[in-house]
């Protein structure tokens, strides 16, 4: 009897998540917007994951709290900056974002949830950053922004905010399927001197410690993410580059076809989670 009780306790201890803060905590922004941070995994992940968890769930109480109120969310400063950029004329055609897209709150609603997305006329899968630079180059006659630069990250944050709370719903069939398969291939391919694939950390070891930090499942629903470690917004491709570098490999370039494919695949792994951007991470 006593032995049984002991094993029960041991089992409890073992099954307790190695990691995360309050298991039951829910992400409610400004007291009225409920975000889905835990949901059933999309069908294509049936063999590997039962449920998908937002990176928010892996952070400490203090970091989580920063995302509960927009006033406390440092990412919102950059949203304000992008709001100014939205209405500012740039380039030789004398246009601003607002000249074509009008009010960002209506024109960009739902955009973040479905990107990266197949673009029919360009016949390629496009990320939001590619679309923004296409607008700047061809629509405005302005200089392209650096793919992972501050202006791009801020604009992505502004666009993401208009879809906040909507479920990520990236299409993986149709013309995008080829690229999605390429992204999947990359996700499971080991790279670098450490010989690690994305899956080794984010699928096999999420919740475990990597040095002093908890590995998340690596979803990108929260991007662009304000990171406390560098006090700025970080784009998806900058994070990919950091991860691949950490495996001690030569990385692909931000904006490269490889990273676009990977972004499409990784985004689709988080289908069903809420768009959180701009999120706060450590």
């Amino acid at each position: 009897m006593k032995f049984k009780a002991m094993t029960a306790i041991a089992a409890l201890l073992l099954s307790a998540p190695a990691a995360m803060a309050d298991e039951e905590a829910e992400l409610v922004v400004n007291g009225d917007l409920n975000l889905v941070t835990r949901t059933a995994a999309p069908a294509h992940l049936a063999d590997s994951l039962d449920e998908v968890l937002s990176g928010w769930r892996f952070r400490s109480d203090e970091t989580q709290a920063l995302q509960l109120d927009d006033f406390d969310n440092p990412g919102m400063i950059f949203v304000d900056q992008a709001m100014d950029t939205w209405g500012t004329v740039d380039g030789e055609k004398g246009k601003s974002c607002a000249s074509c897209h009008d009010d960002v709150e209506t024109s960009m609603k739902g955009v973040r949830a479905v990107y990266p997305k197949w673009n029919d006329s360009a016949e390629e899968v496009r990320t939001i950053a590619m679309q923004v630079n296409d607008c700047r180059e061809n629509g405005m006659g302005a200089e392209k922004w650096k793919y992972t630069g501050g202006k791009m990250a801020a604009m992505e944050a502004l666009i993401s905010l208009q879809s906040r709370g909507m479920p990520v719903d990236v299409a993986i069939d149709g013309p995008a399927e080829v690229m999605w398969e390429e992204g999947k291939e990359l996700y499971y391919t080991r790279t670098g001197q450490l010989d690690l694939s994305c899956a080794n950390c984010h699928e096999d070891n999420y919740g475990n410690l990597i040095r002093a930090d908890h590995l998340s499942q690596g979803h990108i629903n929260g991007f662009p993410a304000y990171r406390l470690k560098n006090a700025k917004l970080n784009t998806v491709h900058a994070r990919f580059k950091g991860c691949v570098r950490d495996t001690r490999a030569e990385t692909y370039k931000p904006g490269s076809a490889e990273f676009v494919a990977l972004e499409l695949y990784v985004a689709s792994r988080g289908n069903g989670l809420s768009v959180e951007g701009p999120s706060v991470r450590n």
Partner: protein, 109 residues
């Protein structure tokens, strides 16, 4: 001259008389510490918010001096007792002489 400076304040619109309320303030500012050097090795001159004050109906609630180690986009949160309806006035003083102001009314009810 600091650019892109924008003060933000969050104060409850209503409070009961005698209530202690939480006030959150943030000003976007690069807070150049004066200790960094540019590519040529020249010192980048200090450019920070050096003082922050909050008044309620003319009475001082807080008055703080900021030094060069205060981070970019300084965020200050504090509590204040609201004895009556009135207005909070917030003032940030920049090294370059600029003064940024913001005010919020609080009603009793």
């Amino acid at each position: 001259m600091a650019s892109g400076v924008k003060p933000r304040v969050k104060v409850p619109k209503k409070a009961a008389a005698g209530d202690v309320i939480v006030i959150k303030t943030l000003i976007s500012h690069k807070m150049e510490s004066g200790q960094r050097k540019d590519k040529e090795g020249n010192l980048i001159p200090r450019s920070i918010i050096n003082r922050f004050t909050c008044d309620f109906n003319g009475q001082s609630v807080m008055d703080a001096t900021f030094e060069s180690a205060i981070s970019t986009n300084p965020y200050v949160q504090f509590e204040a007792t609201v004895p009556e309806a009135g207005e909070f006035k917030f003032t940030w003083y920049d090294d370059d002489g600029s003064v940024y102001e913001e005010s919020k009314k609080v009603a009793i009810g």
